[in-house]
Amino acid sequence: MAFALSAEAEQKLNDILSRYPNKMAACIPVLHLCQEANDNWVSDDVIEFVAQRLELSAAHVKGVVTFYTLFNQKRPGKHQLWVCHTLSCALRGGEDILHHCEKRLGVHAGGTSKDGKVTLRTAECLAACGTAPVIQVDKTYYENLSIAEVDRIIDTLVKDG
């Protein structure tokens, strides 16, 4: 089934286009818009849609999708839990948090929990070093974390129906 946007999202797409002198520049913001409307991943249908709307080749769009970490080429779980493991967070327990999340969720980083609720991912420096260690759940940062707080956050995510 071909990918399509809602009327409201189409309006946002036109708004995005109005900001730039050409259509190619809208590529990344439009890919984000479409990913959000497609269960948080970029399928081949989404690539086709973006290519057509922005008058780009599908190859160009696919080249962009495959370059950037935040475009998901596979359907993720309902939530994405990113654990920063770069130096400043690692100095303050980031790796312990990562291992704890792996145990709680029963996956290695990159995997999705069996109930499909959470995809666990490692993140590189999230610019929260002064409040390390930090995790990002979808769009929200959780900082100054302890293992207990991480447990509370995971509890909420797995309960989320």
């Binding site: 002198p21 190619m24 950037y68 970490t69 130096l87 993140a123 940062y141």
Partner: protein, 448 residues
Amino acid sequence: MIKQTTYLSHSYGKPNSWTLSAYESAGGYRGVRKALSMTREAVVEEAKKAHVRGRGGAGFDCGTKWSFMPKESKKPHYLVVNADEGEPGTFKDRSIMEMNPHALIEGCIIGCYGIGAHACYIFVRDELHLSKDRLWAAIKEAKAKGYLGKTPFGKDYEVEVYVHTGAGAYICGEETALLNSLEGRRGEPRLKPPFPAQYGAFGCPSTVNNVETLAIMPSAFEMGCDEFSKLSELHSFNDGGARLFGVSGHVKKPGIYEAAVGLTLRELIYDLGGGVSGDRPILGVIPGGSSCPVHLPDEVPTLPADAKWDPYRGKSILDIPLGVDTFRNAGSMLGTCCAMVMSDAVDPVLALHNVMRFYRHESCGQCTPCREGCGWIERILNKIVGGKGSIAELDEISEIASNITGNTICAFGDGAAQPALAFVRRYRKHFEDYIVSGGKSQTRRLTL
């Protein structure tokens, strides 16, 4: 010397600090009025007097960069803000965007006017959602009040500011990769020349400035850029004004501290940062993001013979003022001016392993020495950490890193090579002991 200032940080922690009303109550949007009453040429000359060295890590003089833009052009000019804060250890630009976004907006208006641009794109890394929200809200407020649009502050000089988002790539913090990403392409760096002032965004003359660089310009213009520069102990080194200093890792009070340029690492770590966690000795300090060399706390750098360096000769690296030229001439690098502190609880082998994993992950892959070199160094470190390394491979790390430096399209390669060279050189004995014992003699980790 500690001279704390509040030009950017006065609003930090205050409720609704990010609103236009709070910003104006605190004296905002005065510097831009001064700037718009001058000619474009006068704005650039004035900006040069501030001696604001680019706060993104390269330390290039802001006013000088603005002067590179063509005086007349058949093509539109663009101001592009580098808000892709991703250098490990760095978190200062985020504080400005979240808690004082109007300072950046005001700086963008001044910058646009100074370079002859009517449009500005603030390239924010995608992960910083709150920053993007606050910036869009600030733009909306500024437009509603007539500070942006066709006649900002009544001046017939259109200025529009847009927030643009990245998609998760540290390399997009490199200015030409950022321009490619802005254009809707893979974020791969370009060869320079041509420089952005000749051929930047959309093939047009562009200036790329860091968030903090632009955000401090309103304060500089308001008090007079020469006055602003003179706040700094390093004014005579053309490193002027005040800036944000970050500290993270094994310190008691990690965070952002604003002070006049002249602050030292010792003051940042022990006075402002509250001292090392557990009052432990320092294993090493990285002055400004992981692309900088790591230093032992008692290192005394060799400064050039010129008399202007005499005041700092013979001093520990911890006691030399944090400045672009002071650190460069001390064989170091100021970078983003956000220090990472490792106590003696830290194993430098594990620390370098962590850092090189980052560079391998973030390499864009265009240049063979970087693409292959980062991966190779990480794999050697994997072996060492796993207890299967050899001394010969330790030397290989330095050789591979040396072959990256100077052989790449962009400075990422140098940023990856520098920590590899510095850690192996400064902790050589520790690396050798680790290898010989297969890691078994080591009890240190990364955490306390």
